[in-house]
C-alpha cells in the first residue's frame, strides 16, 4: 500500500489524461456489457412480470404452440380429478390508436370462473356489472381497464373506447376500472379485460382458446398434476408453470442476446490492448523509480503486485464508470429492444423500467477488473524483472528483443499452422471452426509487432515522399516504440477486423435475403391482419380468402397460417401453405430434395424445412420429424430443404390440408394475392380495401411495400451491428489518442529539439499527424486483411451455431473502401489534440525533460 501511495499516486496525478484513457478502455467494454445485458434483462423481466401478474394464482398453463386448441379441451381438463380450477384465456395485443399509448394487451377470460384465479380489484363503477358475471357476459362490448390507462386517456366507467379488431374498429364500453397493482400493472398498465367469447369473435379465434390457466387440488404436487394433464392431452400440448414462459421468450431472443454479449466481449478485448499499452509505457517510464525501489529493498513480488494492484484499481474505477454509463444506455435501449423483439418475433411484451440484475453488475466488475489485470500482467512481470543497476541508467528501454521477436514468429507460425490444419481437415464446422478462428486471431496479434515493423519500413519512403522530414520522423518514432505502436495497431486492427467481419455479414445477409425475396416473395399483394407481418394476435377466417378470390381483379389467393410450435425445445415457426398452388407460382431455392419441393411435400404428406432449421437441428431429407399438434405428435417425413428466411429460429413448411387436419384451425394470418394480368397493385389494393376494409381489420401491402418492410426489419436487426461498428471505431479512436498522447509525452525532448533547431510549429504538428496517419494506415491494412479472414469464420459460426444461414463469402469492398479514409480521418482527428499540446508545450521544459 505504501508503494502504491509513494510510486503510483504521483505518477497517476502527473498523467491524468493517460489514466483517464485507460479507465475509458475498461469502461467502454463494461458499458456495452452492462448496457446490453441490462436492456435484455429488462425486456425479459418486463415480459415475465406481465406473465406473472396475468397468471394470478394459476399454477400451470396449458398451450399448444401459438395456434391454440379447440374449446372441448377445456372440458376434458376441467373434468380431471386433479384439477381445482381451469379457465380459458385468449390474449391479443392491439394498437390503441390513442396518442402515445402504443399497444394494449387484451386479456380475454371467462368471467364465470376466472375471478377465483385472478383478482380483479375494481375500484369504481357499476360494481354490480362485474359482481354478476352473467351481466358482463350479456354485454359483449364490455371492457375493464386499469386506472392508469383510464386516467391517461380521460376514460371513466361508461366511456366508449375503440380498438382495432378483426371486424374493423370496434367500440367498447368501459364497465369497470381496476385499482393499480397486481393484475392491473401487467403490460405496463396497458391492459384491458374482456369476455373470452366476445374475444373469439373479434380476434378471429373461431371456437378455440389460446391457453388454459389452472390450479390443482390441494395435495396434488405440481409435477404430478403436469404429468396427469400431459397424459390426458398428449404430446401436442405444453403444460408449464407460468415462470417457464420467460424461458421461452429467452430462447426466442437468444440470438439477439448472444450477438449483444459478443459485442461487449469484443469491446473488452480491444480495451485489453489499450490497458496493456498504457501499462507497458508506465513500466518503461517508471523504470528508474522501479530501479530505485528495487535498490532500496523492494522485492520482485512487491513490484509486480504494485502494478497488478494498480491495474485492479483502474479496472474497478473503469467498471464502476462503465456500469453507470451502461445503466444509462440500458434505459435508452430497453424499450427499443423490447419493441424490436416484439416486432421481430411477434411476442407481446412491455418493458417496464430497468431490471437491475446484481449478477450482471458483479460480473461486470469482475470482468472489468480481470481484463485490466490480465492486460497488466505482462508489463507487471516485466517491471518485476527490471535489473536495479540497469534501470538507473538513462536511455530508451522500450524495445522488443530479437529473441522475443523469434518467439513471436514461431508461435504465430504455429497458430497459422493450426488454422491451416483445421481448414484442410474439415474445419468448416464444429470445434475446429472455433479453433481455427482463435488461431487466426492469436497469430495476428502475436505477429503484429513484426508485421507493423515491416509495414512501417515499407511506408517510410511514402511518408517521406509526402513530407520528407516529418514523414521520416513519424516513421522513426513508430519504429522506435514497437510495443506501443504494435499494441495500438493491434487494438485498432481488431476493431477494424470486427467492422469488416460484421459489415461482411450484413452485406451477405442483405444479398441473401434480397435473393430469397426475389425468388419467393412474388405475389402482387399481401393481405395481413397487422402492419407487422410477424404479429399474430389476429386471425382471419379462411372464408375471407374465398371472398377475395371472387374479386374481378384477383387471379389467385394463397392462404397462409403461421404459428409457433415447439420443436426440440425451440419455438420454431410452422407455416401452412397450399403447397401445390405455391409451387406453381414460385421457384424456391432448393438446397436438398426435388426441384418441385412443395409439390413433392404435398403429395407425400411431408414437410419442407427452412435451410437454417435443417442446419441448426442437423436434419436431412428423408428424416422423420416429430411435430406436436393438438391431435398429438405427428411424424412427418422431410421431403425437401429450401432457403427460407421466414423466421430466424427456423421454419417448417407444411401443406395447408395437413394443418387443417391436425390442428383443426381454419384461420389464416396472411393471404398471398396474385392479380390478373395488367391490373396494377394499387388498383387491386383499392378493390380489396373498398370491399372488405370496412368490415374487417386488414392491411394490404403491395409487393414493393412488403419488400421494403423486410428490408426495414433487416435494418433493425443490423442496427445492433451498426452499434458494434460504432463501438469498434470509438475504441480505435481511443487507442490512437492514447498512443499519440503517450508518444508525445515520451518524445517531449525530441519534439523540443526539433523546434530548437528550427522546426516550425506546423512542421512538428505535421510530424505528429504523419505518425497518426502511419498508425491509421498500418492498422487499416492489417485490419482489412484480418477482417477478410475472420469474416470466413463468422459466416461459419452463423451457419453452424447461430442462425443456420448459409451466407456467401463476399469481401465487403464497399465497407473497406469507406473504412480506409474514415480511419485515416479518425487518426488525424485523434492527433489534433496531442499535436497541439506538443507544439504549445514549453520548449525549455521539453529540452530539460527526462
Amino acid at each position: 500500500m505504501m508503494l502504491l501511495r509513494l510510486l503510483t499516486l504521483p505518477y497517476v496525478r502527473k498523467h491524468l489524461l493517460r489514466t483517464g484513457l485507460t479507465i475509458a478502455g475498461v469502461a467502454l467494454g463494461v458499458l456495452v456489457f452492462v448496457g446490453m445485458r441490462t436492456a435484455n434483462d429488462s425486456v425479459l423481466y418486463g415480459f415475465q412480470q406481465t406473465v406473472d401478474r396475468i397468471a394470478g394464482k394459476a399454477q400451470l398453463q396449458i398451450t399448444s404452440g401459438e395456434g391454440g386448441f379447440p374449446e372441448e379441451v377445456l372440458e376434458r381438463v376441467q373434468a380431471m380429478e386433479e384439477i381445482n380450477i381451469a379457465v380459458p384465456v385468449i390474449e391479443a395485443q392491439v394498437k390503441t390508436g390513442l396518442q402515445g399509448q402504443g399497444n394494449i394487451l387484451i386479456l380475454a377470460v371467462d368471467m364465470t370462473g376466472d375471478r377465483s384465479l385472478r383478482s380483479y380489484d375494481i375500484e369504481e363503477g357499476e360494481d354490480a356489472v362485474v359482481d354478476d358475471p352473467l351481466v358482463f357476459l350479456a354485454q359483449p362490448d364490455s371492457i375493464i381497464l386499469t386506472r392508469e390507462f383510464a386516467q391517461q386517456n380521460n376514460l371513466s366507467v361508461g366511456s366508449k373506447v375503440s380498438f382495432d379488431t378483426m371486424v374493423g374498429p370496434k367500440s367498447f364500453t368501459v364497465r369497470g376500472i381496476m385499482k393499480p397493482g397486481g393484475l392491473a400493472s401487467a403490460f405496463g398498465g396497458n391492459l384491458a379485460v374482456m369476455d373470452i367469447y366476445a374475444a373469439q369473435h373479434v380476434f378471429g379465434r373461431g371456437r378455440s382458446f389460446d391457453r388454459i390457466d389452472l390450479t390443482l387440488k390441494e395435495g396434488i404436487a405440481l409435477d404430478q398434476g403436469r404429468q396427469a394433464i400431459e397424459k390426458l392431452l398428449g404430446a401436442g400440448y405444453q403444460v408449464e408453470a407460468p415462470s417457464q414462459r420467460g424461458k421461452q421468450f429467452e430462447t426466442i431472443s437468444k440470438l439477439f442476446a448472444v450477438a449483444a454479449s459478443l459485442n461487449s466481449l469484443f469491446a473488452l478485448l480491444i480495451g485489453l490492448f489499450i490497458i496493456y499499452n498504457t501499462f507497458s509505457i508506465a513500466v518503461a517510464q517508471r523504470r528508474s523509480e522501479i530501479g530505485i525501489a528495487r535498490a532500496l529493498g523492494a522485492t520482485r513480488a512487491q513490484i509486480r503486485n504494485l502494478f497488478l494492484l494498480e491495474s485492479a484499481l483502474l479496472g474497478l474505477t473503469g467498471s464502476l464508470t462503465g456500469i453507470a454509463g451502461g445503466l444509462i444506455m440500458a434505459k435508452g435501449m430497453a424499450s427499443y429492444i423490447g419493441q424490436f423483439l416484439g416486432d421481430l418475433y411477434g411476442v407481446a411484451q412491455h418493458t417496464e423500467g430497468l431490471a437491475l440484475n446484481p449478477q450482471t453488475l458483479l460480473l461486470a466488475v469482475g470482468v472489468g477488473v480481470l481484463t485490466s489485470m490480465v492486460a497488466a500482467w505482462i508489463p507487471a512481470r516485466d517491471a518485476a524483472r527490471i535489473d536495479p543497476v540497469k534501470a538507473l541508467h538513462k536511455g530508451s528501454y522500450e524495445s522488443i528483443t530479437a529473441s522475443e521477436n523469434r518467439w513471436r514468429l514461431v508461435t504465430a507460425t504455429a497458430f497459422v499452422g493450426i488454422a491451416a490444419f483445421c481448414l484442410v481437415t474439415g474445419g468448416t464446422s464444429g470445434p475446429k471452426l472455433y479453433v481455427g478462428y482463435f488461431s487466426v486471431v492469436a497469430a495476428s496479434v502475436l505477429a503484429t509487432p513484426i508485421l507493423v515493423r515491416a509495414l512501417i519500413l515499407g511506408l517510410r519512403p511514402l511518408l517521406r515522399l509526402v513530407l520528407p522530414v516529418e514523414g521520416a520522423l513519424a516513421a522513426d518514432s513508430l519504429m522506435q516504440s514497437p510495443r506501443r505502436t504494435s499494441a495500438t495497431v493491434a487494438a485498432v486492427m481488431l476493431s477494424l477486423s470486427l467492422v469488416v467481419g460484421l459489415g461482411g455479414i450484413a452485406d451477405a445477409s442483405y444479398a441473401s435475403i434480397l435473393d430469397w425475396v426475389e425468388s419467393v416473395v412474388n405475389p402482387d399483394l399481401f393481405v395481413g391482419t397487422n402492419e407487422q407481418i410477424s404479429e399474430r394476435s389476429f386471425r382471419f377466417p379462411a372464408s375471407l380468402g374465398d371472398e377475395i378470390r371472387k374479386l374481378d381483379l384477383v387471379d389467385e389467393v394463397q392462404t397462409v397460417r403461421s404459428t409457433r410450435v415447439n420443436y426440440r425445445g425451440t419455438p420454431v415457426m410452422l407455416v401452412a401453405i397450399p403447397m401445390l398452388q405455391v409451387q406453381g407460382r414460385i421457384k424456391p431455392k432448393v438446397v436438398a430434395g426435388p426441384a418441385n419441393v412443395f409439390e413433392a411435400a404435398a403429395k407425400e404428406g411431408g414437410v419442407v424445412l427452412g435451410d437454417n432449421l435443417a442446419l441448426l437441428q442437423n436434419l436431412n431429407v428423408g428424416d422423420m420429424m416429430e411435430i406436436s399438434s393438438p391431435s398429438g405428435v405427428l411424424r412427418l417425413p422431410i421431403t425437401g430443404i429450401a432457403i427460407d428466411y421466414t423466421d430466424q429460429l427456423g421454419a417448417i413448411l407444411i401443406d395447408r390440408s395437413l394443418y387443417l387436419k391436425h390442428w383443426k384451425d381454419e384461420t389464416a394470418n396472411l393471404f398471398r394475392v396474385y392479380l390478373k394480368k395488367g391490373v396494377t397493385p394499387e388498383a387491386g389494393k383499392q378493390q380489396i380495401l373498398m370491399r372488405f376494409g370496412s368490415q374487417n381489420r386488414l392491411f394490404v401491402m403491395t409487393n414493393r411495400q412488403l419488400r421494403d418492410y423486410i428490408v426495414k426489419v433487416t435494418d433493425q436487426w443490423f442496427g445492433l451491428t451498426y452499434m458494434q461498428i460504432f463501438v469498434a471505431v470509438l475504441v480505435a479512436t481511443l487507442g490512437i489518442v492514447n498512443s499519440l498522447t503517450v508518444s508525445i509525452t515520451d518524445r517531449r525532448r525530441e519534439l523540443g529539439v526539433l523546434q530548437a533547431v528550427g522546426g516550425l510549429r506546423r512542421q512538428v504538428r505535421q510530424a505528429i499527424w504523419m505518425e497518426a496517419a502511419g498508425i491509421g494506415l498500418v492498422s487499416v491494412i492489417l485490419g482489412l486483411a484480418l477482417g477478410g479472414l475472420i469474416l470466413y469464420y463468422y459466416l461459419g459460426i452463423i451457419r453452424e451455431d447461430m442462425a443456420g444461414i448459409r451466407l456467401e463469402y463476399v469481401y465487403p469492398v464497399k465497407i473497406a473502401l469507406l473504412l480506409a479514409p474514415t480511419m485515416l480521418a479518425v487518426s488525424w482527428l485523434s492527433a489534433l489534440g496531442p499535436g497541439e499540446s506538443a507544439v504549445r508545450a514549453s520548449l525549455v521544459e521539453a529540452l530539460e525533460y527526462e
Partner: protein, 224 residues
C-alpha cells in the same frame, strides 16, 4: 549582435522565482563570451531567452537587429533557425537518425533538397572529424563524438550566433578540451558570435569575455 535591455524573467509556481533581474547586455558580432555563475544564478535562463526558446517577463531582446518580443512564434522560430545554433549539454540528438541525418535535419526543416543538405552535412561532419561515421546512430558513438555531431548540427546553417549550454559538462576532461578546441577553431574560421554557459573556470578564461551572474544579476563583466 545580441542586445538585452532591462530583461527580467520570473518563473511562476507555488513560489515565484526571479531568475533574471533587470539584466542589460550587449554582445558584439564575432565575440566569444563565456557565461559563468553558481547553479541557479540564471545562466541557462539567459541563454534560453537569447535563443528564443523562452520569453522574458519584461524587457527587450534584440538579435541581429530583430526585436524578439515583436515577432510571432513562427517568426521567432525563423530567427532561431536562421541566426542561432544550439549546442546542448546532453547533445539532444535524435536517436533514430544517423549522424548525417541529425546534422542535415535543420537544413531539411528549411526545405533544402536532400542531396544539397547531405553535402553540407558531410562537410560539417568532416570538419568535426566524423567524416567516417556519417551513417552511425548516436547510440553507436562516444560522448565526445555525440557532442561533435551536435556541434556539426548547430553549425549546419552557418549561424551567426552559436549558443552552447555546458558543451563540455557531460564529457571527460580530455574530450572536453577537444570539443573546446573545436569550438574555438570554428569561431576563428567562421567568425561566429559565441555565447557559452560553463562551470569550468578554465573554459571561461579561454574566452575573450566572461560575464558572471549571481542571483539573476550580472555581477562581473571581464573583457580580455
Amino acid at each position: 549582435m545580441i542586445e538585452l535591455h532591462d530583461v527580467s524573467k520570473t518563473f511562476e509556481g507555488k513560489r515565484q522565482v526571479l531568475a533574471l533581474d533587470h539584466v542589460s547586455l550587449q554582445i558584439a558580432k564575432g565575440e566569444m563570451v563565456s557565461l559563468v555563475g553558481p547553479s541557479g544564478s540564471g545562466k541557462s535562463t539567459l541563454l534560453n531567452l537569447i535563443g528564443g526558446l523562452d520569453h522574458p517577463s519584461s524587457g527587450e531582446i534584440v538579435i541581429d537587429g530583430e526585436r524578439l518580443s515583436a515577432v510571432s512564434d513562427d517568426e521567432l522560430t525563423r530567427v532561431r533557425r536562421d541566426k542561432i545554433g544550439f549546442i546542448f549539454q546532453f547533445f539532444n540528438l535524435l536517436p533514430t537518425l544517423s549522424c548525417l541525418e541529425n546534422v542535415s535535419l535543420p537544413l531539411h526543416l528549411r526545405g533544402w533538397k536532400k542531396q544539397k543538405a547531405h553535402e553540407r552535412a558531410r562537410e560539417l561532419l568532416d570538419l568535426v572529424k566524423l567524416g567516417k561515421r556519417v551513417e552511425h546512430l548516436p547510440e553507436e558513438l562516444s560522448g565526445g563524438e555525440r557532442q561533435r555531431v551536435a556541434i556539426a548540427r548547430a553549425l549546419s546553417i552557418y549561424p551567426p550566433i552559436l549558443l552552447a549550454d555546458e558543451p563540455t559538462g557531460n564529457l571527460d576532461s580530455h574530450t572536453g578540451e577537444d570539443i573546446l578546441k573545436l569550438i574555438r577553431d570554428l569561431h576563428e574560421r567562421l567568425n561566429a558570435t559565441i555565447l557559452m554557459v560553463t562551470h569550468d573556470n578554465g573554459v571561461a578564461e579561454s574566452c575573450q569575455r566572461t560575464i558572471r551572474l549571481r542571483d539573476g544579476v550580472i555581477v562581473e563583466d571581464i573583457r580580455r
